[in-house]
């Protein structure tokens, strides 16, 4: 997989603006696609090629969704061919949307289902509204979050309050701008981990593997500092910043992906200090994937982007090698990520399972009634 196989998909007003800003932040190198019900908003996107935009639902005349999540979903379901076409050649889809409105909440689940059908890895950023937006929008966002709880590979649910790191003295304009900027900055840094050269380069294949191993919810943080004392300042922001600070969100984390971006003056000790800050915060067995990017234009500054995964299943490489000739008895070989009814054999006959008559057990977005070995992509020699 090449970095060009990664694409950002923005849904709804907020998602499309994020996608547009990401395209600008990466100098157009990061492919983006934007879908909205508001034709005017789509037209205003300066950095997304018009061929990479899509108006959902002609009958709305492109005037927005009016917050009608169900209607947007119905329209999106009727237009999945557009999504499939946009997913051609994509191995990792980064989906971004705001959850409080209608378009993002309605279209995002449809997109994630479509991506799953096509075996495309997904990284989801579903942004929750500011608390000051009121109970109705918060409730709508919570409902939307629930609808994607079992979709997508890695799901991040930052709130605008956390992204803005706002205090009582922050103006509304500042908060809106900072929230948007922090998310765009973090996603751009994340993409650069595999697009730009570095000593500990994050290959696209590694990224895909991480999306599989870390399937579930994740936390996200970004930090940047420059000049003398940049290391301490960046680490302080990474761990203790209001809102996105990892320290108060690290409980229950099972693995981390950390990217360090610096210029030619990036010190070995600085990278080591970043790594140590995670090692001292988590148990010795805590999986830590570290990546670095060298950017001469970043001389003098230090940037860190981090993901904390709440679920983690290391790839069982020994079983994978031994299971090269293995297959599930009676089932055609399935690729990782493909969801099949585990009790249906090659002839289409379904064996009654123990939990057919009861509701599923969902923990962390996963249906635990689905066999663990399937959800962990373990190849079992059942012959």
């Amino acid at each position: 997989m090449n970095p060009s196989d990664i694409r950002v998909f923005g849904f709804g007003g907020a998602g499309c603006r994020f996608a547009d800003a990401l395209a600008a932040a990466t100098g157009g190198r990061l492919a983006v696609w934007a879908a909205d019900t508001d034709f005017s908003a789509l037209s205003a996107l300066a950095n997304v090629p018009k061929t990479c935009t899509h108006v959902i639902g002609d009958t709305y005349f492109g005037n927005g969704s009016g917050g009608q999540v169900s209607a947007v979903r119905a329209k999106a379901l009727a237009e999945t061919e557009k999504m499939r076409a946009a997913l051609d050649g994509v191995s990792l889809a980064v989906a971004v949307a705001g959850l409080a409105g209608g378009t993002g909440a309605g279209a995002l689940p449809v997109f994630l289902e479509t991506a799953r059908e096509r075996n495309v890895r997904t990284l989801v950023f579903a942004v929750k509204p500011f608390r000051m937006e009121g109970v109705e929008r918060l409730r709508a966002a919570a409902t939307a979050a629930q609808s994607i709880a079992s979709l997508g590979d890695v799901r991040v649910f930052p709130s605008n309050d956390d992204l803005a790191g706002a205090s009582g003295q922050t103006t509304l304009v500042e908060a809106l701008g900072r929230a948007s900027a922090r998310l765009v900055e973090g996603l751009a840094l994340f993409w650069r981990l595999c697009a730009d050269p570095g000593f500990l380069h994050l290959s696209a294949e590694s990224l895909s593997s991480i999306a599989t191993e870390g399937r579930g919810e994740a936390e996200f943080a970004v930090a940047e500092a420059a000049g003398p004392g940049r290391l301490e300042a960046a680490l302080s922001e990474l761990w203790d910043a209001p809102g996105l600070g990892l320290r108060r969100r690290s409980s229950g984390a099972r693995a981390a992906l950390v990217g360090v971006i610096g210029g030619d003056d990036l010190l070995l000790s600085e990278v080591g200090a970043v790594s140590r800050s995670f090692e001292t915060s988590f148990p010795a067995s805590f999986p830590l994937r570290l990546s670095t990017v060298s950017d001469p234009s970043a001389d003098g500054s230090l940037r860190i982007v981090a993901f904390l995964f709440r679920n983690w299943q290391s790839a069982e490489r020994e079983e994978a090698e031994a299971a090269e000739a293995a297959r599930q008895a009676g089932i055609s070989e399935s690729r990782p990520g493909e969801r099949q009814d585990p009790l249906v054999d090659a002839r289409g006959r379904r064996m009654p399972g123990r939990f057919d008559s009861v509701a599923g057990t969902f923990v962390g977005g996963e249906n635990l009634d689905i066999p663990t070995y399937i959800r962990r992509n373990l190849r079992i020699d059942a012959t």
Partner: protein, 412 residues
């Protein structure tokens, strides 16, 4: 002189059992009847087919009554987890109003009331047995006090634990039990019952996790300083192992998958020779087939490992893991799986041992993993009966503490 008969009913996903006994002279327990029956109407700890559950309850009741030689069992304490049980610490605090600033009976009574007032009332949730009072603290100190009377303090706080289950599931279970001819007069979380049944007083003091690997649910209770510090349940259990085997190896039915699990299952694939093969259980007339023993163990290990990590995650979130110096004690049918203790030990980083009972009843002591919860339930129910009798004899307010558990940690 013995007390009245006390009965405990355990309705599990795999087994329904009823144990009846009396408080004996000298503080012991005299077991009067024990009956068990396979359960078929439960899934993941909840009632899926009420008729089948009612039938199982009726069967064990009638069998136990036969053992009592004509005695009748009308009421029973109910031991259950109902798939998912959540645990919330609660605290009620009152100013000390006793003379000279010393805690007196009235202060203790008010503290219990304050604790009861803190029991959460969440729509759709039923709190088991109301508040469970655990210990006291004085003036906001962290030091736990078991008997605060006559101690000087400005404020007295009573700490407790509220365990809640899904209300609909609870109502359905009680209805099924009623249709089986029993009235529920006492409610007890199976994780705590198992801990009371198999943890020694020293283990309760040191900090020990009792982990019950049941057929439909996995429940747990951690004890320290002789009272629970964490408890919970998730609707994942041995049935999930069976279902995983059914999916992976297609033995033909869930029944055969269950036999594959019980006859050949192991939780430690690394201990299995990769070349070892086992004969798949089959129905009469079925064609024999072999499968790799290690593959079976891999499927089982994956499920059990995931389940244990979920338990561990809960305990980690509560900050309980560092306090488990006494290790882990496993109970439930899942504890019988070879290799489980090693897996548990590795997951929690603590020594693991199997539950043991010393009731004097061979039917109970012979299978301690399966009977720890029901035995512990009987212990608690009789203890509760003794306390109520003592309060009534002392002229206390009759029934005032009826729905409140007394302080935990005292073992029969």
């Amino acid at each position: 002189m013995t007390s009245d008969l006390v009965s405990v009913l355990e309705v599990g996903t795999t087994r329904t059992a009823l144990l009846a006994g009396r408080a004996a002279e000298g503080g012991g327990i005299e077991v009067a009847a024990f009956a068990e029956q396979e359960t078929t109407g439960m899934r993941k700890g909840c009632v899926a087919e009420p008729d089948y559950v009612a039938r199982a309850v009726r069967t064990v009741r009638e069998t136990a009554e036969t053992q009592l030689r004509g005695g009748e069992i009308v009421d029973a304490a109910l031991v259950c987890s109902l798939g998912e049980t959540s645990c919330e610490p609660i605290r009620g605090e009152v100013p000390v109003s006793g003379e000279d600033g010393r805690v007196d009976d009235e202060d203790v009574r008010r503290a219990r009331e304050a604790l009861a007032a803190e029991v959460p009332s969440v729509p759709g949730r039923h709190v088991l047995g109301d508040a469970m009072s655990l210990f006291f603290t004085l003036d906001g100190n962290n030091e736990e006090v078991r008997e605060p009377r006559d101690m000087s303090a400005g404020k007295l706080a009573m700490h407790g634990m509220a365990l809640s289950v899904n209300e609909d599931a609870w109502d359905l279970l009680c209805d099924s039990v009623a249709r089986g001819g029993l009235n529920v007069n006492f409610e007890l979380f199976s994780g705590i019952a198992a801990a009371v049944g198999c943890l020694s007083p020293q283990k309760m003091e040191d900090g020990t996790l009792c982990l019950c690997l049941g057929g439909g649910t996995t429940c747990w209770c951690a004890y320290r300083r002789r009272h629970p510090i964490a408890a919970g349940a998730i609707p994942v259990g041995g049935d999930h192992v069976t279902n995983d085997l059914l999916s992976a190896f297609r033995p033909g039915s869930a029944l055969l998958a269950g036999r594959l699990k019980t006859e050949f299952g192991r939780a430690d694939p690394d201990a299995v020779d990769p070349a070892s093969r086992i004969q798949m259980p089959q129905d009469v007339g079925g064609t024999g087939r072999t499968v790799g023993e290690r593959a079976v163990a891999q499927v089982i290990h994956a499920r059990l490992d995931e389940t244990l990590r979920l338990v561990k995650a809960d305990l980690e979130s509560r900050g309980v893991l560092p306090w488990l110096g006494g290790g882990v004690v496993v109970a439930g049918g899942g504890a019988l799986m070879p290799g489980v203790d090693a897996l548990v030990s590795r997951t929690f980083g603590a020594p693991c041992e199997h539950a043991r009972l010393n009731t004097g009843i061979p039917e109970l002591d012979g299978r301690p993993e399966l009977n720890a919860a029901i035995w512990g339930g009987l212990c608690k129910a009789i203890r509760n009966q003794r306390r109520e009798a003592a309060r009534n004899a002392a002229g206390g307010v009759k029934g005032f503490f009826r729905k409140l558990f007394s302080q935990e940690g005292e073992k029969e």
